[in-house]
């Protein structure tokens, strides 16, 4: 069996988990194996949707001990399920929870682990992964020597493809309490927007923005085209009051949106490393020699303070918006 750990939010499977499930289905077909989907929480309402993404069996573990995320509780559940069902591959989406729990479960299983992978295949009966290293400056093909193989899939890379699976259900017992660490409280950002790592459209600003307050024009453009705002390290470190959670680059977030609009970003190696996985790149910069143009599908040499508001205006006029 190929087992995919899935996350629910507001009774729906999170998009990165549907992507991991779809890739799991493809691998299960290639290997002639069953696909299992594993859910955990106070309630697993919504888990049945996994059948739409190819799950043959849907495992649910419900209970008060699983109401808050705990790395040891979730790792125990994952590892025990892998062992009980004889799964050879364990996948999760490379989300905050997935990246926290999957390596712990892998160590419990004595399994090799590949994080944030962008391609998977089954070679000689074992998982093989391709993953970006040096923040995308290179790609490493990873092979496993362990009997069980664990990987997390990078959000926004694997297409979520609907393919009906049998969707049989099996209820698993929730692990008993007394965990080593537990999440006590979630402090949400006011915006409620998706995270940069999962965003489909990113409008990013660099040193050319001149001041943190000027990021307002990027917010307006992002709102008009359904995107979120990021920043280069130069902008975050400039003392403009931008949080580091906005930073895109090797020492910030590594992103893979469909569209990345770089405004006033010259394109330092460490920034390019973080966004070169974008499908389409637009660069807006005064300096025609800026390295970012080498990467851009579309380049605009001009003053971003004129171009960005024009883009917002035109996008609103055309009624453009992306999912």
């Amino acid at each position: 069996m190929i087992l995919v750990f899935c996350e629910l939010k507001d009774g729906q499977i999170r998009k990165p988990s549907t992507e991991a499930l779809s890739e799991g289905r493809r691998l299960a077909d290639a290997a002639g194996k069953q696909l299992g989907a594993l859910f955990a929480g106070a309630s697993c309402a919504g888990a049945a949707e996994a059948a739409k993404f190819g799950a043959d069996v849907i495992f649910t573990a419900e209970g008060p001990t699983l109401a808050s995320y705990s790395s040891d509780a979730f790792a125990t559940l994952m590892a025990d399920t892998v062992k009980a069902k004889g799964a050879t591959v364990l996948l999760a989406a490379a989300t905050a929870v997935g990246k926290d729990v999957a390596p712990r479960a892998a160590a419990r299983l004595g399994a090799g682990y590949a994080s944030d992978v962008t391609a998977l295949s089954i070679v000689d009966g074992k998982l093989q992964a391709v993953r970006p290293v040096y923040a995308g400056k290179a790609f490493a093909t990873t092979t496993f020597s362990s009997a069980i193989q664990v990987a997390t899939t990078r959000p926004n890379v694997f297409p979520a493809a609907e393919k009906a699976g049998a969707g049989a259900t099996e209820v698993l017992p929730a692990p008993a309490g007394d965990f080593k660490s537990v999440v006590k409280e979630i402090l949400a950002k006011a915006s409620g927007k998706v995270d940069l790592s999962e965003a489909n459209v990113i409008v990013s600003g660099g040193r050319g923005m001149k001041d943190g307050a000027n990021f307002k024009i990027l917010e307006e453009l992002a709102d008009a085209i359904g995107g979120v705002v990021g920043a280069s390290r130069a902008a975050v470190d400039a003392g403009w009051g931008l949080p580091h959670s906005m930073q895109v680059g090797q020492t910030g977030k590594v992103v893979s949106p469909t569209l990345y609009i770089a405004c006033g970003i010259s394109g330092a190696i460490q920034h390019i490393a973080g966004m070169s996985g974008s499908k389409f790149v637009v660069a807006i910069n005064k300096d025609p020699e800026a390295p970012i143009f080498k990467l851009a599908n579309y380049g605009i040499v001009g003053d971003l303070f004129e171009v960005v508001p024009e883009l917002t205006k035109a996008a609103k006029a055309l009624g453009i918006g992306s999912n």
Binding site: R104, A107, I269, S276, E306, E310
Partner: protein, 249 residues
């Protein structure tokens, strides 16, 4: 309180990546090696705990002779002692976690700090694997840490915000940018570090779980095009191109 800080030596962020002749590793020529920036936040946090409430801080790295630079720097910044586990520190996270776990066991560390990922390898796996092998609590990607009596409270970065993780010590805590602002080594610290020796031990042999079989550069991006005209015309042309050619909208 006894704190271990695990540090990794990594290529500098400005490194232009070249693939070595073996086709699966980084060509080390012209690479400048640094301490992984996330590990610097971990070390700074350990030194701040030591300054605030008293602690013994041990710096540890896995690698060869050149890795001693990382440990010398840690001593100059305020670590009390340093340990080099001689072995492949650039290899598989599971292997490195086993080596460190074998050293840590029974040494009475209350807290183990390291970066949330090693820059370059980008696995973000060693910390949680070490926590599992030691059967202790973990909290990853931490931007704030408070210690109580045998407990910790940490703020960890998640999508769209953060969450508070509470747990029992001993624990493995992995640092994220924002946890603190690392200091520079003082001349006094550098001089004092010269008098300290780095303990060298052979790493306990460990099996790896995953191996890099090939390393490749990303495909070249196709040449783009520049959009002409005034700002309004450029904006129109861009949106049309994104709609019709790229089909983004």
């Amino acid at each position: 309180m006894k704190i271990l800080v695990a540090l990794k030596q990594v290529p500098d962020t400005e490194t232009k990546i070249k693939v070595a002749a073996d086709g699966r590793s980084l060509d080390p020529a012209d690479v400048k090696w640094i301490t992984s920036p996330y590990d610097e936040y971990a070390l700074e946090e350990a030194i701040r705990i030591k300054e605030a409430k008293g602690a013994e801080v041990v710096a540890l790295s896995v690698g060869g002779d050149s890795t001693k630079e990382v440990l010398k720097n840690a001593l100059a910044l305020g670590a009390d002692s340093a340990v080099l586990l001689k072995g492949d520190g650039q290899g598989d996270a599971y292997q490195v976690a086993q080596m460190i776990a074998a050293y840590v066991k029974d040494k009475g560390f209350d807290l183990i700090l390291c970066g949330n990922k090693g820059l370059g390898g980008d696995n973000a796996a060693m910390g949680p694997m070490l926590a599992e092998l030691l059967n202790v609590a973990q909290a990853n990607v931490i931007v704030k840490l408070e210690l109580g009596e045998g407990t910790f409270k940490a703020e960890r970065e998640i999508e769209g915000g953060s969450e508070i993780v509470e747990g029992a010590l001993p624990a493995v805590i992995t640092a994220q940018k924002g946890l603190n602002e690392p200091r520079y080594a003082s001349l006094k610290g550098i001089m004092a570090a010269k008098k300290k020796t780095i303990e060298e031990l052979d790493a306990t042999p460990a099996t790896s779980g995953a191996q890099v079989s090939a390393l490749a550069l990303p495909p070249e991006r196709p040449a783009g095009r520049k959009l002409e005209g005034d700002a309004a015309a450029q904006a129109q042309a861009l949106l049309q191109a994104l709609k019709d050619e790229a089909k983004v909208f």
